[in-house]
Amino acid sequence: MIKKIKQGAFYGSIGLLAFLVMISLLSIMGYILFNGVGHINLEFLTKEPRSMGREGGIFSVIIGTLILTLFSVLIATPIGVAAAIFFTEYSAGKKWVGPIRFFTEILAGIPSIIFGLFGFAFFVIFLGLGWSILSGGLTLAIMILPTLIRATEESLKTVPMSYREGSLSLGATKLQTITRVIIPSCLPGILTGIILGVGRAIGETAAVMLTAGSNLRMPTSLLDSTRTMSVHLYTLASEGISLEKTFATASLLIIIVLIINTAANAITSKYIIKS
């Protein structure tokens, strides 16, 4: 009898706690989408902001976000993929791999405000790039590097040894084996890594604010300062500029995150079924 009560209490409490987790998620997303989706319209998406974002749309912010994200992913992807290839294909027997791996792990744990400080001190001031897409993009590229390395490495590890043997036994070189057999068979994993990196770059605020600034005007070069959607959301929320636009911007961010997660999941599950 006591055992029954104990069990009831146990399952009841962990059930309740997990239920709370779902409720938190649903209420946050639900509340913001409910209040914001209605304000996302053609004008919001395609018009430039007026009077600090109180009026008009967020077109230049969307473009700024796109350029900054694209730039950082373009820089980080080849480096991340190559680093992952190094760890799985070239690292065997090299003693100095340990520290390199350790530092890669460390990089993943550094908080974004530190990246912001670093980007500000190094790219903005030391290299004299100023608050710009270049400074912000390079800072973001370093930030998303560990995400890319990890995702690519996970998928490289699933490539069977027999593919490598088959290719080498036909007289292919190691590099040919990597570019023609190994990478093609883990493209979905690399793609997932890129998508997750994009998600991180879009959502990042603190580091971007300190490195790309928060210029509302449409950027015309990589040396222009720009404002991303996350930074815009922060400015609107903290300065209480327009609740309507704030909800709309937050909703747009959530919708983008939803799309990104769905895409990543779809690729992963398709990949798992195939292999």
């Binding site: 027997g93 593919y163 043997e165 088959g166 036994s169 036909l170 007289g171 292919a172 023609r180 093609p184």
Partner: protein
């Protein structure tokens, strides 16, 4: 089988995995256009040995070899020896079929493309020729551009043999090529071997005594990293000199 010319000449070959010695003083001759079978219980070193012939053991960390392996009179473990060229001439078929996750066509042209063949017509020709050689053409000619992984196990293995033939090797190493296949697929591969040996030198590792007896011209018996006996297959199977060989062949251990 008189005066057959030799393809491989192995002299006092030793191989170590770290401190473990996997092959001990191996001496062997492999004759051109013959089938040499390597038999012996699991862990005796026969798979390790066959992988020294195309230097696939290079992939494993901490492997050290001493002694001489001569292929066409050249020491393949010499410092300046071209391993890529060796592997081109000495193809390999693995225990489990390992087609790439590409189409049937792309699997076969992989080797030629890697070695610089770009001509589409030529590649097409190679695909047809090699698939016919392994008697797979009729079965797959309508789906050359479908994934190779959709084939049955036996078909996949024949595809892997065709892929190996496409780089025009002189030798084909086979590491228990039928152990993952059903009896029908196995017998197809065995009869294939009889045709292939007209053009190629074949070395085959097998667990299956009958297979060794049926297909090979020469047989080597491996035990604990040593070659206990090498001879013409009919002699090994009817009148072995070593007592251990006899015990293994008659099924008393292994």
């Amino acid at each position: 089988m008189e005066n057959a010319s030799t393809k491989f000449e192995i002299d006092k070959l030793n191989l170590f995995y770290g401190s473990f010695q996997a092959l001990i003083d191996i001496d062997m001759t492999i004759y051109t256009n013959k089938i040499t079978a390597l038999i012996g219980p699991s862990g005796c070193g026969k798979s390790t040995f066959i992988r020294t012939l195309n230097r696939m053991n290079d992939l494993i960390l901490g492997v050290k070899t001493t002694g001489l392996v001569k292929f066409d009179e050249m020491d393949i473990y010499a410092v300046d020896y071209d391993v890529i060229n060796l592997r081109k001439k000495v193809g390999m078929v693995f225990q489990k079929p390992n087609p790439f996750p590409k189409t049937i066509f792309e699997n076969i042209v992989y080797g030629p493309k890697v070695h610089g063949e770009k001509n589409r017509d030529k590649l097409q020709e190679i695909v047809e020729k090699t698939l016919k050689e392994v008697a797979l053409w009729e079965e797959v000619k309508d789906r050359l551009h479908k994934p190779a992984l959709g084939l049955s196990g036996g078909q996949q293995q024949r595809l892997c043999i065709a892929r190996c033939l496409a780089v025009e090797p002189e030798v084909i190493l086979m590491d228990e090529p039928t152990s993952a296949l059903d009896p029908v697929a196995t017998s197809k591969i065995e009869s294939l071997l009889e045709e292939l040996v007209e053009k190629y030198t074949i070395v085959i590792v097998t667990h299956n005594m009958q297979q060794a007896g049926r297909v090979s011209d020469y047989t080597s018996f491996f035990l604990s990293g040593k070659v206990l006996e090498t001879d013409k297959t009919e002699i090994i199977f009817s009148n072995p000199t070593n007592k251990k060989t006899e015990e293994y062949i008659t099924g008393r251990f292994g």
